[in-house]
Amino acid sequence: MAENGTCVLSVEDLHTYFYTQRGIVKAVNGVSFAVDRGRTLCLVGESGCGKSVAALSIMRLITTPPGKIVRGSIQFEGRDLLGLDPEEMRRVRGRRISMIFQEPMTSLNPVFKIGRQIGEMFTYHEGMRPREARRKAIELLALVGIPAPELRVDDYPHQLSGGMRQRVMIAMALASPDPGLLIADEPTTALDVTIQAQILELLRDLQQRIGVSILLITHNMGVVVEMADDVAVLYAGRKVEAARTKELLISPCHPYTRGLLNSIPGNPKYRGAARLESIPGSVPSLAGLGEGCPFENRCLLARAVCRERFPEEQAVSGTHSVWCHFADAPAAADR
């Protein structure tokens, strides 16, 4: 296993398009990011920003057609995942990269006991015998904090609560002896807030104990703050800002990032305020987006150049970059 700080996953210039009747939808349009060993990177953004498609592209789970990874590279532990044949890719999935989803009920098979579904990871990938796989499943259920795991192992998914089902999904994701990367796509979005807090705590705790690297996809800035070491803000298929979590919160540079933080009613600046500072307009249709900055139609700083071309990367610090023609304009101008 590599040392902390080395790069586990590196996505470069990823383009994932969907070819629809209404035109080409550039769901991911030239996005790059990297997950370092033992750290958590959050991809954050609203509907249609491309965060889930980016995750599915890494897993090579994009349905073709209509979807296609058009360009880019996905390096995982030194190998380009886009160059693997399907059998090699299947060995990476589940064994070296696992994924958990928003709605655990749709990802678990309703007709099999959870013990068998977790154990499958061991019988399939490790060639373990069923009895031993069951013992491993019980261990994992205990690891993710399910009470009475030796009884629960024989439950069907419908017998568990939403939070417990998500714990089972996490147990399955960690079934590999050395999980390199856990991709979590909105893992707590369907859960009640007190249960969400438990699951986030569990993920943090497991990361500390087994050193798994996490790529977390979320729309929720609160989840970012709880979990992320690093953040990439996506908007309409483009990465618009990337930074350490603290940097992003203290000095957001992109007008969209600022607007996103300002849209949160829990933002401390709103103590006693009567209105929120909202971003006008809505996300443009991704079909037929031009070459310019996709935020241009909602941005108060936008000028002609924004419509013409997407900006180059601008370094704010060694760990903080922004893609905006006018990011250095004073924050006061952006309201």
Binding site: D192, I195, H219, M221, G222, V225, S278, S282
Partner: protein, 314 residues
């Protein structure tokens, strides 16, 4: 205080098929002043949505009373209820399933006027145009169908429909929960602007404490069918007493990475509302549970002026 709505011991129980009773709402009381916003917050199964529907009699109440400006809503017959409904409307969570996909935006917004036979065709058209402008919908989109609008715009249609009859009381049931955060902020601002212009009284039902905290004057916290704590907003934010309210505040996201992992999470799952724990419903998850909590449901006590909680600790 100019009270618009007076709610006393409202209950809504559902008889279950296999026997047993689901006490979705179990003895909720509050007063709501005209022009104020009452936030109702809680997690799945706490009864907040059923409470809203019961007050409008979209669900028939099992017990209790709700008096809107002197009118006892729960004793009204059909005709009188229809008249009373002109004064109270609802905005729903899902702008997909709460709008008829076969009708244009204008027809959807006009419908309440048609049902209550208000104005002639020309007047109604004028009113629809005014409503669309007021909620920020482009008049060129009058004849578009719901699927041609974005989620935020659809919610604006739902709001315009609720406003059509000039209601005094509007119940917003998770009205912004399904929206992206940047759109959510727009809709929250719209609701606040409308309240300022028309003096609406809101009951704002949501699971997101930070949204409720922002929009409300008074907050009522529910857990498994009962109110565990209610207080004026500032009071509740400064001093949340019930361990469940404390858990909600702890679990609510804060934009400060220095506080990461510093917060206490309450253990355990939400129990089924069909067979809630005896005594205080929260006791199995409560870090401060004592013997009486396992036996007796605590009385509602006024711990400070206007600040009520049901907990044996106080």
């Amino acid at each position: 205080m100019d009270t618009l709505l007076e709610v006393r011991q409202v209950a809504k129980h559902f008889d279950l098929k296999g026997g047993g009773v689901l006490k979705a709402v179990d003895g909720v009381s509050f007063d709501l002043a005209r022009g104020q916003t009452l936030g109702v917050v809680g997690e799945s199964g706490c009864g907040k949505s059923t409470l809203g529907k019961t007050l409008l009699r979209l669900e028939e109440p099992t017990a209790g009373s709700a008096v809107l400006d002197g009118i006892d809503l729960f004793s009204l017959g059909r005709t009188a209820l229809k008249a009373a409904r002109r004064r109270m409307q609802m905005i729903f969570q899902d702008p997909f399933s709460s709008l008829n996909p076969r009708r244009s935006a204008a027809a959807i917004i006009e419908q309440p006027l048609v049902i209550h036979a208000i104005g002639n065709q020309a007047e109604r058209r004028q009113r629809v145009d005014a409503l669309m402008a007021e909620v920020g919908l482009d008049l060129r989109y009058r004849n578009r169908y719901p699927h041609q609008f974005s989620g935020g715009q659809r919610q604006r249609i739902g709001i315009a429909r609720a406003l059509a009859l000039n209601p005094e009381l509007i119940i917003c049931d998770e009205a912004v929960s399904a929206l992206d955060v940047s759109i959510q902020a727009q809709i929250i601002n719209l609701l606040l602007d409308l309240q300022q212009t028309h003096g609406h009284t809101y009951i704002f039902i949501a699971h997101d404490l930070s949204v409720v905290e922002f929009i409300s004057d008074r907050i009522l916290v529910m857990y498994l069918g009962r109110v565990v704590e209610d207080a004026p907003k500032a009071e509740l934010v400064a001093k949340h007493l019930h361990p469940y309210t404390q858990a909600l505040f702890e679990a609510s996201p804060i934009l400060d990475p220095d506080l990461r992992g510093m917060r206490c999470t309450v253990p355990g799952d939400l129990p089924s509302p069909i067979d809630p724990p005896r005594g205080c419903h929260f006791h199995p998850r409560c870090p401060r549970a004592m013997d009486p909590c396992r036996e007796v449901y605590p009385q509602r006590k006024e711990v400070a002026p206007g600040h009520f909680t049901s907990c044996h600790l106080y």
